[in-house]
Symmetry: C2
Subunit: 215 residues, 2 copies
Amino acid sequence: MTDKATVAPESRQERKERTRRAILDAALDQLAETGFGALSLRQLTKAAGIVPTAFYRHFATLDELGLTLVDESFVTLRGLIREVRSGDPAPETLIDRSVDVLAVQLEEHKAHFRFIGRERHGGSAALRGAIRHELDLFERELVTDLARMPELERWGAADLHVLASLFVDLMVAAAAEIVSPSAEQAAVRRELVDNLRNQARMIVVGAAGWEPLGG
Amino acid sequence: MTDKATVAPESRQERKERTRRAILDAALDQLAETGFGALSLRQLTKAAGIVPTAFYRHFATLDELGLTLVDESFVTLRGLIREVRSGDPAPETLIDRSVDVLAVQLEEHKAHFRFIGRERHGGSAALRGAIRHELDLFERELVTDLARMPELERWGAADLHVLASLFVDLMVAAAAEIVSPSAEQAAVRRELVDNLRNQARMIVVGAAGWEPLGG
DNA sequence: AGTTTGAGTGAACGACTGTGCACTCAAACA
DNA sequence: TGTTTGAGTGCACAGTCGTTCACTCAAACT
């Protein structure tokens, strides 16, 4: 065996992509402890295994890194609803499955949800704006999903907006809480998930008895 | 008229308190644009009109400043529920009044609510812990208030927790959104307040139809 | 085989960070 | 009236910060 066999043959593109991922991962890692505004390019690049200046080969500025993380995080979020949507659409099982899927995804993409939860209100104006925009899109998707449900046939856009925003607000708040470092213990996390499930149920009861807004 | 008449006679304590307030106000001001982790002691003290080292006459560390702001902010929050509680306890008018009071308080103590909203998930571990603790206390107070309502007589502790946490989560999320710099326009803010009102109503409908959890 | 490309390097920049220490000087106290 | 106290000052310190620039050197193309 020559050395060639053990060393991974890497194209220029592959290597660049690998470094880029290393930067993104290092950022997500560092953002678990500090806000984006307190992010240090030097610590970041050191953790990624490159020299500070090499960062600029991948991103024009730190803000661009942040926006990329927003995009990436919402790809994760969309994967979540796609998974929920691919199952049984019966309202009875929908909540439980949604919460279960969320719990699993929170575990697998902890850093993404933590990032959104942290920077949603904590970040710079640009970051908050980007997250706000993505969440609006997300809510709109949820509205069209809800509009398809026969139970909500008589609802207007305003009613659907109330319910959808309720779900989104609740989910983001719960997600941020659950992935928080203070909820490391499985028992604490389980209790938070259980509470989220009950909250969602109570909202569904409210939706069932809701008298559509006039207008 | 001598100069004595125009210069406020200030005791040593008064002067210290005034400087302390200047520091706290400068911090709240600066925290509208950056997270607490990115707070600069030098900019802070410059805005407060003192030299950097003078800060340490008032706080042992920046973290202590943060904890003081948490305390202060929750004093504001308690003032809010006290005002709500002092009015008509009839459930029909309670929501509207609560939301109205919140809207007014958000305007008057914008910085406090912005601080809580930002650092709840965004801050350092110490800050998050302190806010988490205060919010827990706040929720517990809400639970005892709810427990007194005749409509919820049959509810257990778990049910009350679900409802109370729903209200608290919703209020904090909405407050953070409403005081956000991106909601500067009155029309946007009004729409957010209206949506909060409807969300609260939907939750109340859910509570009315809620079947208490077995246990 | 020769040339071009571009990710990563390393030194240097000016500015900014939190904090320690010796100081002033007016208010508070004896 | 003399002494003590302590909020605020000014300098200095050792770091860290983001960003620039000219560079290397291997992969990719001609």
